[in-house]
């Protein structure tokens, strides 16, 4: 699309006052998206942000595109209908961990399984922000919140494992402290035909401050974030001194000096078998051990809306475009004179 008008961040921002708490991680995600959009060479009117309910879900009000702020949990379903009906649009879905993994969990996994052409951004702050601080399906065991005064006794979801288990064709993770990395992930999601799922570690400085600090603060990142790069050995640390090996089907963090660089697993995001991607997602189930970010999986699979559209085209070329008169006479008829 060469005739897309040149835009700047300002064109993509609305005049609405942004209503997140000062210091909320959602601001930096919004900035990353608004700055990225002019680079994607798409028209604002062809872009739609759909969301459910939650702090994260306020996102559409701040994007000068079409925006639909739906109801709690249902945004993947609403967006599925929109994307099926309108293959010409770029549909983004934004929501929190409660919105998309608790009340809307069912719609999320089915949108991923069907591979609907959606860019799904999950702002994971491991808490219910909008309802003022209850634990969420991604909160860690033992988490003390208003609704778990004695600590949560529930096993949390690992969002990446869940998406992979739901047959997602594109799965990535990023965090709100690294604009460049976020933009790279969002760009990849946009370019991916089909459902793209991006988990964003997002800080809720009011109800769950510092949930990801051990991973994302500037001086921790090198040793705590494992940046997955396609075709490269999985390696991290300030000097690449750590790496990941597959050991009897299980991933293990090692010191490269101990095993040698050749022993490291080479990341292949296009592997049709999601087993290694899944294994990598299991490396970290808590926020105090090295955690992979980047694209876990990016495989090509038939996109849902276009598959439906081609069935329509095929049936039109076979049966001709619908003729109502013919349809009404398609069963046995008789004449009364």
């Amino acid at each position: 699309m060469t005739d897309v008008p040149v835009t700047t961040r300002k064109d993509w921002a609305t005049d609405q006052e942004v209503r997140w708490c000062p210091g909320c991680g959602d601001y930096s995600i919004l900035t990353a998206v608004q700055l990225l959009m002019p680079e994607l060479e798409v028209r604002r009117e062809d872009t739609v942000f759909v969301s459910g309910i939650g702090c994260a879900a306020r996102f559409p009000y701040y994007m000068n595109t079409y925006g639909l702020h739906a109801i709690h949990g249902r945004s993947p379903a609403v967006a599925t209908g929109l994307a099926m009906a309108r293959g010409d649009l770029h549909v983004w879905v934004v929501g929190g961990d409660g919105d998309m993994m608790s009340i809307g969990g069912n719609h999320l996994i089915h949108a991923l399984r069907r591979n609907v052409n959606l860019n799904i951004l999950l702002f994971n702050n491991q808490i219910y922000g909008l309802t003022k601080g209850q634990y969420s399906p991604t909160s860690e065991r033992g988490k003390v919140t208003k609704s778990t005064p004695h600590g949560s006794v529930e096993q949390p979801f690992n969002a990446i494992s869940l998406a992979l288990g739901a047959e997602a064709s594109f799965v990535a993770r990023t965090h709100d402290m690294d604009r460049g990395h976020m933009q790279e992930m969002f760009r990849r999601a946009h370019d991916h035909p089909g459902a793209a799922f991006v988990e964003v570690f997002q800080n809720c400085n009011v109800f769950n401050d510092g949930a990801f600090a051990a991973l994302t603060k500037r001086d921790a990142r090198d040793s705590m974030l494992i940046d997955l790069c396609h075709g490269k050995p999985v390696r991290f640390g300030a000097d690449g001194e750590f790496g990941v090996v597959m050991d009897g089907g299980r991933p293990r963090v090692v010191s490269v000096a101990d095993v040698g660089a050749d022993a490291l697993v080479v990341h292949d995001e296009t592997d049709p078998d999601p087993s290694v991607a899944f294994a990598l997602s299991r490396l970290a189930n808590t926020n105090d051990v090295p955690t992979p970010i980047g694209v876990f999986r990016a495989v090509e699979r038939s996109e849902y809306g276009s598959a439906v559209t081609s069935q329509i085209a095929a049936s039109q070329s076979k049966a001709g475009p619908g003729d109502l008169h013919k349809l009404l006479h398609s069963r046995p008829t008789w004449q009364v004179a």
Binding site: R43, E45, Y66, R74, A79, L82, N106, L328, V336
Partner: protein
């Protein structure tokens, strides 16, 4: 059968027959009834059907729970019900006889498959002695035929295994009744050829069984008289036999054609609504998109998303699914987007009677959302009327930018009737009018788009994504009228609640007034909605032919009610409201118009019979002193 050669028995003409096929769910009774119906339709009778099947796909064979029935009323004149009581009962086994005999008219004809009346089957049904021998059938004309045995024999030389041959015994029954009731043979033979194309032994077995049944009629001393029902003098035109769910599906396709925008159906399978999903999924060449969603909430959500994108968004379900969709329908009320929600009602609450009919979701349609969330409601009155009601629902949704609930029910869904196919060129068009340019000048003098700026009908613009310059954000949070910006202002919310109510109320000016059928000067008026139309019409005709007067007001629009309805109701001495619930419309009418309406209700999972309604009306007419 050697002593009787083919005889030409005298054929007596009658004005109508109500035939009920009953058997085990594995016996193919629905198909048999359907074939008899089709042959009668092609012959030119008026007709109405009532299929009834168990909720279990395969209840234990031979038990009462497994009985599946199909009632069909054929007539030489215009009829509106499947008949109060069958005049003929075909019972394929003892359970079928036991479960349905009580329905049969006194003196009616019972046709049984004698081979199924063995000790085992009698015991399974719960008979202590054989009803064919113990006098239970005294007073009925009984025709016994060894259907299983004769079917097997007819198939003997066809290379069909005896067990498979046995499965064709329903065609034997069909052959026999086709002879008894003088039905044309050819449509059934042709149908067998088409339906089982490629399965030659099945074709051969079914044809042989059908012919054997017919021949049995010709040659055996049946003791029942042969009857003939002449074609009905229906309005000239081309007819087809159609059930409610098919008519509904075609109506949705027609509406999409009339509106010139594609149809999108989001649905989750549920009896008795699934057939609409099945039917629409077949017609992709009309540009129809169907999504079998992960659940009913996903289904209505997707339909709403498609509607937001400029398609006709439809979702189909039954009561349990309606409950799940409520929140999303409320969102559509708040967003003011077109959405068609179709509830094919069944017996409730909960799983209730999934295969039986009831019409108890009216108040749920009216009030089953949180907050003040009014929306238009329409209801279909007969199987073929589902076609026009679907078009009306889409028209209201699209032209008034609102979710609309269409109520059908299990009886309409599965029953069929002859339908004079409308001329598609005569169908009304549906005005879509997507917004294409800014509609407001702001304080700075710039042209901007206000998503909630309304026209004189209080309808807001439908601006779909992809339209340059009209980008806007909408949601379920209260918005300022006009600009559509989020607003929590007390006065604005109060104004918006009233606006949403007013704009739905205004629709009363865009629908036809209520009409009286029968005598507008009668002292008693019957007010109805939904599928009770047929039984009430039939009851009214009986009352009229007995020389009495009755007014009938049938409502297609239940919200808003027709503008003239209040005055009309107040002009009658008595108002009776028959409903397949415990009095929901009656309550609405009393609340709305302060009329002393009387409720007549039935919640047995069965439609009203005309006789029940004649009796109810009779009581009312009696109290007015009009009966003499």
């Amino acid at each position: 059968m050697t002593e009787t050669s083919a005889r030409t028995q005298e054929v007596r003409t009658t004005d109508g027959i109500v035939l009920r096929f009953a058997g085990d769910s594995g016996d193919g009774m629905q198909l048999t009834g359907d074939r008899f119906t089709s042959a009668s339709a092609l012959f030119g009778n008026d007709l109405a059907t009532l299929p009834e099947f168990p909720a279990e796909i395969r209840a234990p064979a031979g038990t009462l729970a497994g009985v599946s029935s199909f009632q069909v009323h054929i007539s030489d004149h215009d009829i509106t019900t499947p008949g109060d009581a069958p005049t003929v009962l075909v019972a394929m086994n003892p359970a079928a006889l036991l479960s349905d005999l009580h329905l049969l008219k006194p003196g009616g004809t019972v046709i049984v498959n004698a081979d199924a009346f063995n000790e085992r089957n009698l015991a399974k049904a719960g008979y202590e002695s054989d009803p064919l021998e113990d006098g239970s059938l005294d007073g009925y004309t009984v025709v016994t035929a060894p259907m299983t045995d004769l079917t097997k024999r007819a198939c003997q030389d066809l290379g069909v295994k005896p067990r498979e041959a046995e499965r064709s015994k329903n065609f034997f029954a069909l052959g026999l009744v086709s002879w008894l009731y003088s039905r044309p043979v050819k449509p059934t033979v042709d149908w067998i050829d088409g339906k089982f194309a490629g399965r030659d032994t099945v074709i051969a077995a079914n044809k042989a069984a059908f012919a054997a049944g017919h021949a049995f009629g010709e040659t055996a001393e049946l003791g029942a008289s042969r009857l003939m029902v002449q074609p009905a003098a229906l309005e000239p035109g081309t007819y087809t036999n159609i059930n409610g769910n098919t008519a509904l599906s075609w109506g949705l396709i027609a509406a999409s054609q009339q509106a010139g925008i594609p149809l999108f159906l989001g649905s989750y399978p549920i009896t008795p609504a699934s057939d609409v999903l099945h039917e629409l999924a077949r017609h992709k060449n009309f540009g129809v998109r169907t999504l079998q969603a992960e659940d009913e909430i996903g289904a209505v959500g997707a339909a709403l998303g498609a509607a937001y994108g400029g398609h006709i968004g439809v979702t189909t379900t039954s009561g349990p699914g309606m409950a799940l969709k409520a929140e999303t329908v409320g969102l559509a009320v708040s967003l003011e987007v077109p959405l068609v929600v179709i509830d094919i009602q069944r017996g409730g609450p909960s799983t209730g009677l999934p295969t039986k009919t009831e019409a108890a979701d009216l108040l749920m349609a009216m009030y089953g959302r949180h907050g003040e969330a009014p929306l238009p409601i329409v209801a279909a009155q007969s199987p073929s009327d589902c076609f026009f009601t679907a078009i009306e629902a889409v028209r209201l949704a699209v032209e008034h930018r609102t979710p609309v609930i269409l109520l059908s029910d299990g009886y309409l869904a599965n029953s069929s009737e002859p339908w004079r196919i409308p001329d598609v060129k005569q169908l009304d068009s549906i005005a879509v009018n997507f917004a294409s340019k800014p509609n407001h000048v702001n304080d700075e003098g710039e042209s901007v788009f206000w998503p909630f700026r309304r026209d004189e009908r209080l309808v807001r613009p439908w601006a779909i994504p992809g339209t340059p310059g009209l980008m806007h954000r909408i949601g379920g949070i209260e918005k300022e009228d006009g600009s559509g910006n989020i607003s929590y202002e007390p006065d604005n919310h109060q104004a918006m609640v009233r606006l949403r109510a007013e704009r739905i109320a205004l629709i009363a000016h865009h629908i036809p007034p209520a009409e009286v059928v029968g005598d507008p000067d009668a002292s008693v008026a019957v007010v109805s909605w939904g599928s009770t139309w047929g039984a009430i019409t039939s009851a009214r005709r009986r009352i009229e032919s007995a020389g009495h007067r009755l007014a009938h007001i049938h409502l297609r629009h239940l919200n808003p009610l027709p503008a003239n309805l209040g005055d009309l109701l107040r002009s009658f001495e008595r108002v009776v409201v028959p409903e397949m619930n415990t009095g929901q419309l009656c309550r609405m009418l009393r609340a709305e118009f302060l009329v002393d309406a009387r409720s007549v209700t039935k919640v047995s999972g069965q439609p009203f019979t005309a006789a029940e309604l004649v009796e109810a009306c009779w009581e009312e007419i009696g109290t007015t002193g009009a009966a003499r």
